[in-house]
Protein backbone atom coordinates (compact mmCIF):
# COMPACT_ATOMS: atom_id res chain seq x y z
CA UNK A 1 0.00 0.00 0.00
CA UNK A 2 1.35 3.41 -0.89
CA UNK A 3 0.37 6.75 0.66
CA UNK A 4 -2.55 8.69 -0.73
CA UNK A 5 -4.01 12.06 0.15
CA UNK A 6 -7.74 12.44 -0.50
CA UNK A 7 -9.99 15.41 -0.12
CA UNK A 8 -13.59 14.24 -0.04
CA UNK A 9 -16.28 16.18 1.80
CA UNK A 10 -17.83 14.09 4.56
CA UNK A 11 -21.27 15.57 3.92
CA UNK A 12 -23.11 17.23 1.04
CA UNK A 13 -26.59 18.42 0.12
CA UNK A 14 -28.54 16.33 -2.36
CA UNK A 15 -27.74 17.52 -5.88
CA UNK A 16 -24.64 19.39 -4.76
CA UNK A 17 -21.58 19.43 -6.98
CA UNK A 18 -18.62 18.40 -4.84
CA UNK A 19 -14.95 18.66 -5.62
CA UNK A 20 -12.68 15.69 -5.07
CA UNK A 21 -8.90 15.79 -4.99
CA UNK A 22 -6.64 12.79 -5.05
CA UNK A 23 -2.88 12.46 -4.74
CA UNK A 24 -0.95 9.18 -4.72
CA UNK A 25 2.72 8.40 -4.12
CA UNK A 26 4.01 6.81 -7.32
CA UNK A 27 7.26 7.28 -9.29
CA UNK A 28 5.59 7.26 -12.75
CA UNK A 29 8.82 5.99 -14.25
CA UNK A 30 8.44 6.73 -17.96
CA UNK A 31 10.35 3.79 -19.45
CA UNK A 32 12.49 6.21 -21.45
CA UNK A 33 14.99 7.37 -18.85
CA UNK A 34 18.43 5.87 -18.40
CA UNK A 35 19.34 5.06 -14.81
CA UNK A 36 22.66 5.74 -13.10
CA UNK A 37 24.21 2.71 -14.87
CA UNK A 38 23.15 3.91 -18.33
CA UNK A 39 20.51 1.25 -18.98
CA UNK A 40 16.93 2.33 -19.57
CA UNK A 41 14.74 2.02 -16.46
CA UNK A 42 11.73 -0.16 -17.10
CA UNK A 43 8.41 1.61 -17.33
CA UNK A 44 6.44 1.73 -14.09
CA UNK A 45 3.37 3.93 -14.33
CA UNK A 46 -0.22 4.05 -13.16
CA UNK A 47 -2.29 3.46 -16.25
CA UNK A 48 -5.82 3.97 -15.07
CA UNK A 49 -7.66 5.78 -12.32
CA UNK A 50 -11.33 5.17 -11.60
CA UNK A 51 -13.78 6.55 -9.11
CA UNK A 52 -16.91 4.56 -8.30
CA UNK A 53 -19.84 5.82 -6.31
CA UNK A 54 -21.92 3.02 -4.82
CA UNK A 55 -20.25 0.71 -7.31
CA UNK A 56 -21.12 2.80 -10.37
CA UNK A 57 -18.21 4.30 -12.30
CA UNK A 58 -18.51 8.08 -12.14
CA UNK A 59 -15.06 9.20 -13.25
CA UNK A 60 -12.10 7.57 -14.97
CA UNK A 61 -8.80 8.70 -16.44
CA UNK A 62 -6.07 7.08 -18.53
CA UNK A 63 -2.56 8.00 -17.45
CA UNK A 64 0.48 8.05 -19.70
CA UNK A 65 4.27 8.20 -19.27
CA UNK A 66 4.29 12.00 -19.54
CA UNK A 67 2.30 12.35 -16.32
CA UNK A 68 4.49 13.59 -13.45
CA UNK A 69 5.37 11.49 -10.41
CA UNK A 70 2.76 11.37 -7.63
CA UNK A 71 -0.25 12.00 -9.89
CA UNK A 72 -2.69 14.59 -8.61
CA UNK A 73 -6.19 14.32 -10.01
CA UNK A 74 -9.10 16.54 -9.20
CA UNK A 75 -12.64 16.36 -10.51
CA UNK A 76 -16.19 17.27 -9.61
CA UNK A 77 -19.18 15.07 -9.03
CA UNK A 78 -22.89 15.65 -8.46
CA UNK A 79 -24.17 13.57 -5.54
CA UNK A 80 -27.82 12.71 -4.98
CA UNK A 81 -27.57 10.08 -2.23
CA UNK A 82 -25.37 8.91 0.59
CA UNK A 83 -22.85 6.21 -0.17
CA UNK A 84 -19.28 5.07 -0.57
CA UNK A 85 -16.77 6.55 -2.97
CA UNK A 86 -14.11 4.07 -4.08
CA UNK A 87 -10.92 5.29 -5.77
CA UNK A 88 -8.78 2.79 -7.67
CA UNK A 89 -5.37 3.28 -9.24
CA UNK A 90 -4.07 0.47 -11.48
CA UNK A 91 -0.83 0.20 -13.37
CA UNK A 92 2.34 -1.61 -14.39
CA UNK A 93 3.76 -4.50 -12.38
CA UNK A 94 0.33 -5.44 -11.12
CA UNK A 95 -0.07 -2.17 -9.22
CA UNK A 96 -3.55 -1.81 -7.82
CA UNK A 97 -4.77 0.19 -4.88
CA UNK A 98 -8.25 1.12 -3.74
CA UNK A 99 -9.25 3.65 -1.10
CA UNK A 100 -12.79 4.30 0.05
CA UNK A 101 -14.52 7.26 1.69
CA UNK A 102 -18.09 7.52 2.94
CA UNK A 103 -20.17 10.54 2.11
CA UNK A 104 -23.44 11.48 3.86
CA UNK A 105 -25.92 13.30 1.64
CA UNK A 106 -28.81 15.08 3.30
Amino acid sequence: MVRTLLRVPATARSGEVIEIRTLIAHPMETGFRPGADGTVQPRDIIRRFTCRFNNREVFAAELHPAVAANPYLTFTLRVEESGILAFTWEGDNGFSQTETRPIAVA
Partner: protein, 250 residues
Amino acid sequence: MGSPRPRRGRSRWLEALACAGALLLLGAGPRSGYETMTPQLRAMQDDDLSNPGMLAVAEGEALFAREGCAGCHTAEAMRGVAARYPALDRASQAPIDLSGRIAQCREKRQQRPPLPREGPAMLALTAFVAHQSRGLPLQPDPRLAEARRQGEALFRERRGQLNLSCAQCHDDNAGRRLAGSLIPEGHPNGYPLYRLEWQALGSLQRRLRNCLVGVRSEPFPPGAPDYVALEAYLVARARGLLVETPAIRP
Protein backbone atom coordinates in the same frame (compact mmCIF):
# COMPACT_ATOMS: atom_id res chain seq x y z
CA MET B 1 0.87 77.92 -9.68
CA GLY B 2 3.66 79.39 -7.60
CA SER B 3 3.06 78.87 -3.94
CA PRO B 4 1.52 75.41 -3.45
CA ARG B 5 4.11 73.81 -5.65
CA PRO B 6 7.20 73.71 -3.49
CA ARG B 7 5.07 72.49 -0.63
CA ARG B 8 3.65 69.66 -2.65
CA GLY B 9 7.07 68.94 -3.95
CA ARG B 10 8.37 68.76 -0.43
CA SER B 11 5.65 66.48 0.84
CA ARG B 12 6.18 64.26 -2.19
CA TRP B 13 9.81 64.16 -1.40
CA LEU B 14 9.06 63.25 2.20
CA GLU B 15 6.63 60.62 1.00
CA ALA B 16 9.27 59.19 -1.29
CA LEU B 17 11.70 59.14 1.59
CA ALA B 18 9.19 57.34 3.78
CA CYS B 19 8.57 54.82 1.00
CA ALA B 20 12.27 54.23 0.53
CA GLY B 21 12.56 53.74 4.28
CA ALA B 22 9.73 51.21 4.25
CA LEU B 23 11.29 49.41 1.28
CA LEU B 24 14.62 49.30 3.04
CA LEU B 25 12.94 47.82 6.07
CA LEU B 26 11.09 45.28 3.94
CA GLY B 27 14.12 44.58 1.80
CA ALA B 28 16.36 44.21 4.81
CA GLY B 29 15.07 40.78 5.79
CA PRO B 30 15.75 37.55 3.93
CA ARG B 31 13.14 36.46 1.39
CA SER B 32 12.14 32.83 1.26
CA GLY B 33 12.21 31.06 -2.10
CA TYR B 34 8.46 30.74 -1.58
CA GLU B 35 8.00 34.46 -2.22
CA THR B 36 9.38 34.27 -5.73
CA MET B 37 7.49 31.17 -6.86
CA THR B 38 4.50 31.35 -9.21
CA PRO B 39 1.06 31.62 -7.57
CA GLN B 40 0.37 28.06 -8.77
CA LEU B 41 3.37 26.65 -6.95
CA ARG B 42 2.61 28.67 -3.84
CA ALA B 43 -0.93 27.26 -3.89
CA MET B 44 0.51 23.75 -4.24
CA GLN B 45 2.71 24.30 -1.18
CA ASP B 46 -0.08 25.89 0.84
CA ASP B 47 -2.61 23.11 0.35
CA ASP B 48 -1.61 20.05 2.34
CA LEU B 49 -3.78 17.87 0.13
CA SER B 50 -2.04 18.89 -3.08
CA ASN B 51 1.50 19.17 -1.70
CA PRO B 52 3.20 15.85 -2.56
CA GLY B 53 5.70 16.49 0.24
CA MET B 54 2.86 15.64 2.61
CA LEU B 55 2.93 12.05 1.34
CA ALA B 56 6.42 11.79 2.85
CA VAL B 57 5.32 13.51 6.07
CA ALA B 58 2.54 10.94 6.45
CA GLU B 59 5.03 8.15 5.79
CA GLY B 60 7.39 9.71 8.34
CA GLU B 61 4.64 9.80 10.94
CA ALA B 62 4.02 6.09 10.45
CA LEU B 63 7.76 5.34 10.63
CA PHE B 64 8.10 7.41 13.81
CA ALA B 65 5.70 5.00 15.48
CA ARG B 66 6.82 1.82 13.72
CA GLU B 67 10.59 2.36 14.08
CA GLY B 68 10.35 2.93 17.81
CA CYS B 69 11.03 6.69 17.95
CA ALA B 70 7.73 7.14 19.73
CA GLY B 71 9.06 5.00 22.58
CA CYS B 72 11.25 7.93 23.67
CA HIS B 73 9.70 10.96 21.93
CA THR B 74 6.30 12.42 21.21
CA ALA B 75 5.51 14.28 18.01
CA GLU B 76 4.60 17.34 20.12
CA ALA B 77 8.05 17.38 21.68
CA MET B 78 9.51 17.59 18.17
CA ARG B 79 7.91 21.02 17.69
CA GLY B 80 10.61 23.65 17.41
CA VAL B 81 13.47 21.16 17.10
CA ALA B 82 14.12 21.61 13.36
CA ALA B 83 14.07 25.40 13.73
CA ARG B 84 17.25 25.28 15.80
CA TYR B 85 19.22 22.79 13.69
CA PRO B 86 22.00 22.29 12.83
CA ALA B 87 22.95 22.16 16.51
CA LEU B 88 26.01 21.35 18.56
CA ASP B 89 26.33 17.67 19.37
CA ARG B 90 27.53 17.57 22.96
CA ALA B 91 29.35 14.25 22.73
CA SER B 92 31.44 15.08 19.65
CA GLN B 93 31.43 18.88 20.12
CA ALA B 94 30.74 19.05 16.38
CA PRO B 95 27.75 20.47 14.53
CA ILE B 96 25.08 17.93 13.60
CA ASP B 97 22.13 18.34 11.27
CA LEU B 98 18.64 17.01 11.82
CA SER B 99 19.12 13.83 9.76
CA GLY B 100 22.41 13.27 11.54
CA ARG B 101 20.64 13.48 14.90
CA ILE B 102 17.96 11.03 13.78
CA ALA B 103 20.66 8.66 12.51
CA GLN B 104 22.42 8.99 15.88
CA CYS B 105 19.25 8.04 17.75
CA ARG B 106 18.72 5.07 15.50
CA GLU B 107 22.28 3.77 15.53
CA LYS B 108 23.44 4.66 19.05
CA ARG B 109 20.24 4.61 21.09
CA GLN B 110 18.39 1.89 19.25
CA GLN B 111 21.37 -0.13 17.99
CA ARG B 112 19.67 -0.54 14.64
CA PRO B 113 21.29 -0.62 11.21
CA PRO B 114 21.79 2.82 9.65
CA LEU B 115 19.27 4.15 7.16
CA PRO B 116 20.70 5.50 3.90
CA ARG B 117 20.92 9.26 4.44
CA GLU B 118 18.99 10.20 1.33
CA GLY B 119 16.81 7.12 1.18
CA PRO B 120 13.04 7.47 1.39
CA ALA B 121 12.82 6.36 5.05
CA MET B 122 15.35 8.89 6.39
CA LEU B 123 13.88 11.64 4.22
CA ALA B 124 10.40 10.83 5.47
CA LEU B 125 11.46 10.78 9.14
CA THR B 126 13.33 14.07 8.71
CA ALA B 127 10.37 15.61 6.89
CA PHE B 128 8.00 14.51 9.64
CA VAL B 129 10.20 15.91 12.41
CA ALA B 130 10.87 19.17 10.52
CA HIS B 131 7.18 19.54 9.67
CA GLN B 132 6.42 19.81 13.39
CA SER B 133 8.26 23.16 13.27
CA ARG B 134 6.41 24.53 10.25
CA GLY B 135 5.66 28.20 10.78
CA LEU B 136 8.33 28.72 13.45
CA PRO B 137 11.23 31.11 12.82
CA LEU B 138 14.71 29.69 12.29
CA GLN B 139 16.82 30.14 15.40
CA PRO B 140 20.47 29.57 14.60
CA ASP B 141 22.33 27.73 17.35
CA PRO B 142 24.61 30.31 19.01
CA ARG B 143 27.22 27.63 19.76
CA LEU B 144 28.00 27.12 16.07
CA ALA B 145 29.98 30.32 15.49
CA GLU B 146 33.01 28.42 14.24
CA ALA B 147 31.02 26.26 11.79
CA ARG B 148 29.21 29.36 10.56
CA ARG B 149 32.51 31.06 9.90
CA GLN B 150 33.68 28.04 7.87
CA GLY B 151 30.35 27.95 6.08
CA GLU B 152 30.54 31.60 5.17
CA ALA B 153 34.06 31.12 3.79
CA LEU B 154 32.75 28.24 1.63
CA PHE B 155 29.84 30.43 0.55
CA ARG B 156 32.15 33.18 -0.64
CA GLU B 157 34.80 30.95 -2.22
CA ARG B 158 34.81 30.78 -6.03
CA ARG B 159 34.75 27.23 -7.29
CA GLY B 160 34.33 24.96 -10.28
CA GLN B 161 35.02 25.43 -13.97
CA LEU B 162 32.61 28.37 -13.93
CA ASN B 163 34.63 29.89 -11.09
CA LEU B 164 31.55 31.16 -9.26
CA SER B 165 30.85 31.45 -5.56
CA CYS B 166 27.48 30.81 -3.96
CA ALA B 167 27.45 34.50 -3.01
CA GLN B 168 27.82 35.64 -6.60
CA CYS B 169 24.50 34.00 -7.44
CA HIS B 170 22.56 34.13 -4.18
CA ASP B 171 23.72 37.53 -2.82
CA ASP B 172 24.71 39.49 -5.90
CA ASN B 173 22.21 38.18 -8.45
CA ALA B 174 19.21 36.97 -6.45
CA GLY B 175 15.99 37.90 -8.23
CA ARG B 176 17.63 37.72 -11.68
CA ARG B 177 17.38 34.83 -14.07
CA LEU B 178 19.79 32.05 -14.88
CA ALA B 179 18.44 30.66 -18.15
CA GLY B 180 14.87 29.73 -17.25
CA SER B 181 15.23 29.73 -13.48
CA LEU B 182 14.86 32.61 -11.12
CA ILE B 183 17.86 32.80 -8.79
CA PRO B 184 16.44 32.66 -5.26
CA GLU B 185 18.29 34.02 -2.25
CA GLY B 186 19.16 30.39 -1.47
CA HIS B 187 17.59 29.79 1.92
CA PRO B 188 17.40 26.42 3.69
CA ASN B 189 14.02 26.89 5.40
CA GLY B 190 11.91 24.40 3.41
CA TYR B 191 13.91 21.17 3.57
CA PRO B 192 13.39 18.34 3.02
CA LEU B 193 11.26 19.67 0.16
CA TYR B 194 9.51 18.49 -2.95
CA ARG B 195 11.26 19.77 -6.02
CA LEU B 196 9.37 19.47 -9.28
CA GLU B 197 12.59 18.93 -11.18
CA TRP B 198 13.40 15.95 -8.95
CA GLN B 199 9.79 14.77 -8.92
CA ALA B 200 10.59 13.73 -5.40
CA LEU B 201 11.34 14.89 -1.90
CA GLY B 202 14.99 15.78 -1.45
CA SER B 203 17.39 16.99 1.22
CA LEU B 204 19.24 20.29 1.53
CA GLN B 205 22.45 18.40 0.79
CA ARG B 206 21.00 17.22 -2.49
CA ARG B 207 20.12 20.82 -3.32
CA LEU B 208 23.65 21.93 -2.46
CA ARG B 209 25.10 19.17 -4.63
CA ASN B 210 22.95 20.45 -7.50
CA CYS B 211 24.41 23.95 -7.07
CA LEU B 212 27.96 22.60 -6.75
CA VAL B 213 27.59 20.52 -9.91
CA GLY B 214 25.89 23.52 -11.55
CA VAL B 215 29.16 25.47 -11.41
CA ARG B 216 30.98 22.30 -12.56
CA SER B 217 32.78 21.70 -9.33
CA GLU B 218 33.32 18.42 -7.53
CA PRO B 219 30.62 18.14 -4.85
CA PHE B 220 31.88 17.55 -1.30
CA PRO B 221 31.91 13.80 -0.55
CA PRO B 222 28.70 12.44 1.04
CA GLY B 223 28.58 13.25 4.75
CA ALA B 224 31.44 15.81 4.53
CA PRO B 225 31.37 18.37 7.36
CA ASP B 226 31.38 21.12 4.70
CA TYR B 227 27.66 20.53 4.12
CA VAL B 228 26.76 21.07 7.76
CA ALA B 229 29.07 24.12 7.95
CA LEU B 230 27.33 25.59 4.89
CA GLU B 231 23.96 24.79 6.41
CA ALA B 232 24.97 26.49 9.68
CA TYR B 233 25.84 29.63 7.72
CA LEU B 234 22.73 29.44 5.53
CA VAL B 235 20.50 29.19 8.59
CA ALA B 236 22.15 32.24 10.18
CA ARG B 237 21.78 34.10 6.89
CA ALA B 238 18.09 33.14 6.81
CA ARG B 239 17.52 34.06 10.45
CA GLY B 240 13.85 34.79 11.11
CA LEU B 241 12.47 32.99 8.05
CA LEU B 242 9.80 30.48 8.90
CA VAL B 243 10.22 26.74 8.53
CA GLU B 244 8.15 25.62 5.51
CA THR B 245 8.80 21.87 5.49
CA PRO B 246 7.71 20.32 3.22
CA ALA B 247 8.13 23.23 0.81
CA ILE B 248 7.66 23.04 -2.95
CA ARG B 249 10.33 24.39 -5.28
CA PRO B 250 10.57 24.35 -9.07
